[in-house]
Amino acid sequence: MHLDLQLITSGLAIGSVYGSIALGLVLIYRSTGILNFAQGEMATFSTYIGWSFVVSVGMPYWVGFLLAVLAAFLLGAVVERVAIRPVQNQPHLTVVIVTLGLFLLFNALSLKFWHSDVRPFRSPFPSGSVHVLGTYISWVSIGIFGVSLISMAFVGIVFRFTKVGLAMRAVTSNPMASALMGISNGRILSLGWGLSAAVGAIAGMLAANRLLLDPNMMQGVLLYAFAAAVIGGMTSPVGAVIGGLVMGVTNALVSSVSWIGSDLSLAATFIVLVLILLVRPQGLFGRQIEVRV
């Protein structure tokens, strides 16, 4: 029995990584209406920047961490300005292709600068595990979980209580009106991308110890993070994190079912996802979109 509990805690641990990347996706989707395929690769790239500061340059961990988050913020804003804004008025599919291009670009750059070797990256959290209720939970997982909750709260507060968040929502829901009200749409959109990249960098830096840092570190995660964001309803920070946990636990549990096994667990997990969406097409935390005639 306690081993099944171990499955659930393992699922929660990896699920919080999914959730933290999903948070970044939700941030961009909500502030600019774009599905960003490059979220994971940008996070990996930023993590490498942090790794370079800490390991290659030899800075103290938290200094490197902060610099990497800052760099990620700038990177996000620049990417929005250079690659996204020129296609803002194109159909979504075109924008999606640009984010796919960014995905390939950042992957190639990570590969070029840091090669495909897996690199160790220490965690700010203590190594080892706690032993509770017969299960082992690593401090790193607890740390990631905690930080993803903090990020979630941060994103939620930004959206709900700050002027910037209000402006972001205004820009997505009615750009014309918000421009008339004197909100600088461009700046808000850049800010959205910057924040999202920063949230991604935090997730990447913290998860690198667990996922192991290589240029493809986030590819598997991104698939689950998409699913997590969608289950969460695409616009809800809480939904993203809970969606991540749902995906993590579902994956762990289905792989323990003997007739599914680990080789079919990916398929089974996504079938569960589709079933959830069939029942609730708007996701667990999404609002039902009004059907206008």
Partner: protein, 414 residues
């Protein structure tokens, strides 16, 4: 026949691209660059087909012949060309689903895989003649596409993207799992067919595969054109442009959306059969999510809702992803040669194409406004802030893709 270089923006475009290619080729890079040349040829081929097919559907059958230009230039091999045409057939199918009907589909690759397995299993395990298996490969994929189409009716936008990517992820895993049928991860080796009697003297196996593929591509183009230029094409565009008005004129959205999925998957399955026949080896892990995404980039780069766009896009994407070499600069910094890896070159070119030709390469030639937009931007002559506002206001929802660029046939020529 109308002049190929009709109108001055196109001329400017050609001159610019020729200059850029020359520059890339001669100044920056020490090695000969087939890839860039081929991209330029695709560009020229695109002009020809776009110009010709405007107003007359018979010219659209020239689409598959676009890549032939390169063969004549001897810059491309027959096996490569075969693969490009196979990509194009599948992209044509995806365009039907995504471009014409507005249903984002990230699972086209798995239908190719399905078709490839049908051909591989029938041909190598049951000894069927390969040509006979091709239509069956299409039909099996169409049946699967029909199922996905029915499921897709419930979803929209991002959710449809996730549904189809779930299929793209789960599909190969399932194929690998049922080892008794698919041979699991070991894959299936297909003996490539020899050309039949009369052809055997002057064609080798690869060339035979190539001609079969060309014929299939032309059939695919003709049938697609017939479907899309008539009542069914209008119904599909109607339901994409305005679902409400489409219902009003009597279009059964359900049937047509599912039809698009079934027919689009049929082409994917046929492409898969050709894949098995010409590659000679089928393994499910070749048909994953990234393989599928490749087809989205093909139709967007080539030009959504255009038949020749699928072919031009296939040439460009294939060449960019394989034959564009690492850009090595002649200069070095501290003795280390500067270079941009191939994948990054691909990514940057992809982004540039989408930014500067949002309606695809074909779009550059059939719509003047793209060029005027571009030249305007180059002159720096437009207001950014209002642009973004306009952008936000104008942006259609994800499923409602842009107006198809295909030059609309003048009714008089039917």
């Amino acid at each position: 026949m109308r002049s190929v270089l009709h109108g001055h923006p196109r001329l400017v475009g050609l001159v610019i691209s020729a200059l850029v290619t020359w520059l890339l080729n001669e100044v920056l890079f020490p090695t000969p660059l087939n890839g860039y040349l081929v991209v330029l040829f695709a560009y020229v081929g695109g002009v020809v087909v776009a110009r010709l097919s405007r107003g007359d559907h018979r010219y659209a059958a020239l689409g598959p012949l676009v890549p032939l230009v390169f063969l004549a230039q001897n810059s491309i091999g027959v096996t490569e060309l075969t693969q490009i045409l196979i990509l194009a057939i599948a992209a044509l199918g995806l365009d039907l689903i995504t471009g014409w009907t507005g249903q984002l589909n990230l699972a086209q690759g798995i239908f190719i895989g399905l078709g490839a397995y049908v051909t591989a299993i029938l041909a190598s395990k049951h000894g069927w003649p390969i040509l006979l298996t091709l239509p069956l490969a299409g039909l099996v994929a169409a049946a699967a596409g029909l199922l996905l189409g029915v499921l897709a009716l419930r979803f929209d936008g991002v959710y449809l993207a996730v549904l189809t990517s779930a299929v793209a992820l789960a599909g190969p895993v399932l194929l690998l799992h049922y080892k008794s049928i698919t041979n699991g991860v070991n894959g299936i080796i297909v003996n490539q067919p020899q050309p039949p009697g009369a052809f055997a003297d002057w064609l080798d196996t690869d060339q035979w595969g190539y001609y079969v593929t060309v014929v299939m591509a032309i059939i695919a183009v003709c049938i697609s054109w017939n479907l899309l230029s008539g009542r069914i094409g209008r119904a599909l565009r109607a339901l994409r442009d305005s679902p409400i008005a489409a219902k009003g004129i009597g279009v059964d959205l359900t049937r047509y959306k599912v039809l698009a999925f079934a027919v689009g998957s049929f082409w994917a399955g046929l492409a898969g059969g050709l894949y098995a026949m010409t590659i000679g080896f089928v393994s499910a892990d070749s048909f994953g999510l990234f393989y599928s995404i490749q087809f989205l980039t093909i139709i967007v780069v080539g030009g959504l809702s255009t038949i020749s766009g699928a072919f031009v896009g296939a040439v460009v994407i294939y060449e960019l992803s394989t034959n564009v070499q690492t850009i090595g600069f002649a200069t070095t910094v501290n003795g280390v040669a500067l270079s941009i890896p191939q994948a990054a070159v691909y990514a940057i070119l992809l982004i540039l194409v989408v930014i500067f030709a949002p309606k695809g390469i074909i779009g550059i030639f059939s719509d003047k406004s793209d060029w005027s937009r571009l030249t305007q931007r180059l002159r720096g002559g437009h207001n950014r802030s209002t642009d973004v506002v306009q952008a936000q206001a104008d942006r259609p929802p994800i499923v409602r893709l842009d107006a198809p660029e295909d030059p609309h046939p003048a009714i008089t020529s039917y």
